[in-house]
């Protein structure tokens, strides 16, 4: 944990105002997508962000990328505040942080060849001669395990796993320090997931990249992350190393998430006692008072409705936002 912090977010908040429903007047409701989240991404390391749909993880990714302006809070890149940059300065930042999306099909323009897709960011961000660009793109293709001779092919001629490799090559084209990957393997088959994860780890080692790796799947994150944060309804409920989170989960939500993963072992299916949560995630427009998880929590008590638990170490060795960690 000695490597320097590359990307840092302090107390990020993002509220999306909802559309008015009254007669002529606007309502003041808002979706509290991200509500006071602080993270640190260290050089050459991976921050894993885990949570179910609606927990705010994708919004957090877009805030870190500066694709969305935060309602409040700051984003620091190499210690410099990038929260309110615009225009040319923002473009310079984009060269340092790149994104890989979940759906490799939807995120690639079907009318552009692979060469164009990977090469386009270069045109916007760096001065580069045309011939040098092609060479560079082919190097990138080889780097991510694509055949450089397929330079002129179109996305539909590739399989899902190969398309995700194209997405990664495009992100790498401008030589970023940080890659924010939003569910990069969720849409892929199991055997292909492993290929892409191996590739991402190899690239991290070779190029010294830092990752923010977002997933709903705990097992994938466990494998690749150095630090993990678990999110629920816009807040971090627990954070720590994979060992902390997996071996000694202390927040009831983390425990439920872990126990919900179906294990590929029929014997375990009979023995392991599953903690099944009741009900659905409450609306982020009107989250519960106090602890946001209390409406589904088996350990909830009166205190939980009154007071929001802070994200601090209560003797577990890592921070947990729960009044009654166990």
């Amino acid at each position: 944990m000695t490597s320097p912090v590359v990307l840092e977010a302090k107390n990020l908040v993002k509220y999306f105002p909802t559309v008015s429903k009254g007669l002529l007047q606007r309502s003041t409701d808002s979706v509290k997508a991200v509500d006071g989240v602080s993270v640190q991404v260290r050089a050459g390391q991976t921050l894993g962000v885990v949570g179910e749909s609606g927990c705010g993880k994708s919004t957090l990714a877009r805030l870190l990328m500066r694709l969305l302006p935060p309602t409040s809070g700051t984003v620091l890149l190499d210690g410099a505040d990038i929260t309110s940059l615009t225009g040319r300065e923002l473009r310079a930042v984009r060269a340092k942080i790149q994104m890989v999306f979940q759906d490799p099909v939807a995120s690639l323009n079907p009318r552009h060849s692979v060469g164009q897709i990977i090469g386009t960011p270069l045109k916007f961000l760096k001065e580069n001669s045309a011939s040098g660009a092609k060479e560079h793109v082919q190097e990138l293709m080889a780097l991510v395990g694509l055949n450089p001779e397929h330079y002129n092919r179109y996305p539909h001629e590739f399989s899902g796993g190969q398309r995700q490799r194209i997405g990664i090559a495009r992100a790498l084209a401008v030589g970023p320090q940080v890659i924010v990957a939003d569910e990069p393997v969720s849409a892929l088959d199991v055997s292909i997931q492993a290929q892409v994860l191996n590739l991402m780890e190899k690239l991290q080692r070779d190029l010294g990249l830092s990752y923010v790796f977002i997933a709903h799947d705990l097992s994938v994150v466990r494998h690749i992350a150095d630090e993990i944060i678990v999110m629920y309804l816009g807040k971090v409920v627990e954070s720590g190393t994979p060992k902390d989170v997996y071996s000694a989960p202390s927040h009831p939500y983390t425990q439920a998430l872990l126990s919900a993963i179906p294990l590929a072992d029929p014997r375990a299916a009979g023995t392991h006692k599953r903690m099944v949560l009741t009900g659905d995630v409450p609306s982020p427009i009107d989250p519960p008072s106090g602890c946001r998880f209390r409406t589904r929590c088996p350990r909830a008590q009166d205190l939980c409705a009154l007071e929001e638990p802070a994200l601090i170490d209560r003797g577990q060795g890592h921070p947990v936002a729960c009044h009654f960690p166990g």
Binding site: K21, G22, L23, L24
Partner: protein
């Protein structure tokens, strides 16, 4: 729901007001002198000036607009003494070239245009949706191909050519139909149908290809939806699935477009009316253009715009009733 309706209606009112101001200003700023158009060929500058004062064209634009609006609400009296005359509410002005109140001109032409629009609309919806359904159900097979070829041919005819062609085939060559004219449907319903059949056919051939495509596309898209497959998997009859699952969602967007189209047709089927010499609003507008008859132009434009806004409002309300996702505001 009531709040939603109120908001929509208020909005429609504001929109119409804006349209009226815009139309009024556009025509007022044209380089034509409205007063000069009021007195025919033998005209002295004195008479023009007298008319200018009599009609209020010498006043500032906004005052004129205010009087125009007041006229719509409470009627309007022009001139004084002997030359005084009144256009009752809702007054849209006075046409000198036609020597009549604009409102009465429109009131006289509207039934004609309305007849053309209603009959045409009914026919083009029946053909459009019916053939679209056949096309979707027989996708890729000969009925689908035939319909698509025929509709492309229909679409590629210019209106005036098509109208003349129909006129030649049905009236001149086979003498199957009389030359189109306007008969009041309350007096002679069959005569009304017979006299307007050609204009209706013209509009149908021009408009239905678009609806055939919309219906075909909407149905094919809906048939691939999971909920339609679930409907079949429940064991429902094919026709039940088609009626309750496919048609309903495929037709809703079509109704929206149809409402707007109908509103627009009510504003005057310019080509159709001109070729068949039917005294409708479209022809009134065309004549007003060639005569530089500003009051009539402002009046017909405003009426046409009102129809579009009105039907837009009606389809939105319809949407609210049929789609629960729009209806329920928590």
């Amino acid at each position: 729901m009531i709040a939603y309706l109120t908001r929509r209606i208020l909005f429609a009112g504001v929109l119409l007001l804006a349209v009226s101001l815009f139309t009024f200003l556009v025509f007022a700023l044209l380089p034509t002198d409205p007063a000069a158009l009021t007195c025919g060929k033998v005209c002295t500058p004195e008479r023009i000036e007298a008319n200018r004062t009599r009609l209020g064209y010498d006043q500032p634009l906004l005052t004129q607009y205010g009087k125009f609006l007041k006229g719509i609400v409470g009627g309007r009296t022009y001139g004084e003494g002997q030359g005084e005359f009144t256009c009752g509410a809702p007054s849209l002005g006075y046409s000198f070239s036609q020597k009549d109140c604009v409102t009465s001109l429109i009131a006289r032409t509207l039934p004609v245009t309305g007849s053309i629009a209603i009959g045409g609309f009914v026919l083009w919806m029946i053909f459009g949706i019916g053939l679209g359904m056949v096309s979707a159900l027989k996708r890729g097979r000969w009925p689908d191909r035939l319909i698509s070829i025929v509709s492309v041919v229909g679409l590629s005819f210019p209106t005036f050519f098509l109208a003349l062609l129909l006129l030649f085939i049905f009236v001149i060559w086979s003498q199957f139909l009389p030359f189109p004219s306007y008969v009041s449907p309350t007096e002679d319903f069959f005569g009304w149908c017979q006299a307007l059949l050609l204009p209706w056919l013209t509009i149908t051939i021009i408009s239905s290809p678009y609806y055939i495509r919309l219906t075909r596309f909407g149905m094919l898209e809906t048939m691939n939806e999971d909920y339609v497959r679930l409907g079949i998997a429940k064991g429902l009859k094919r026709w039940t699935v088609l009626r309750k699952y496919v048609l309903r969602s495929a037709l809703i967007p079509i109704v929206t477009v149809a409402g707007l189209d109908f509103g627009a047709t009510l504003g005057g089927a310019v080509f159709t009316e001109s070729i068949f010499s039917l005294p409708g609003m479209g022809r009134l507008s065309i004549k007003a253009v060639s005569d530089s008859d500003l009051p009539v132009l402002v009046g017909t434009t405003l009426v046409a715009a009102t129809f579009i806004v009105l039907f837009n409002l009606l389809t939105d309300i319809f949407y609210g009733f049929v789609d629960p996702r729009v209806r329920i505001h928590k």
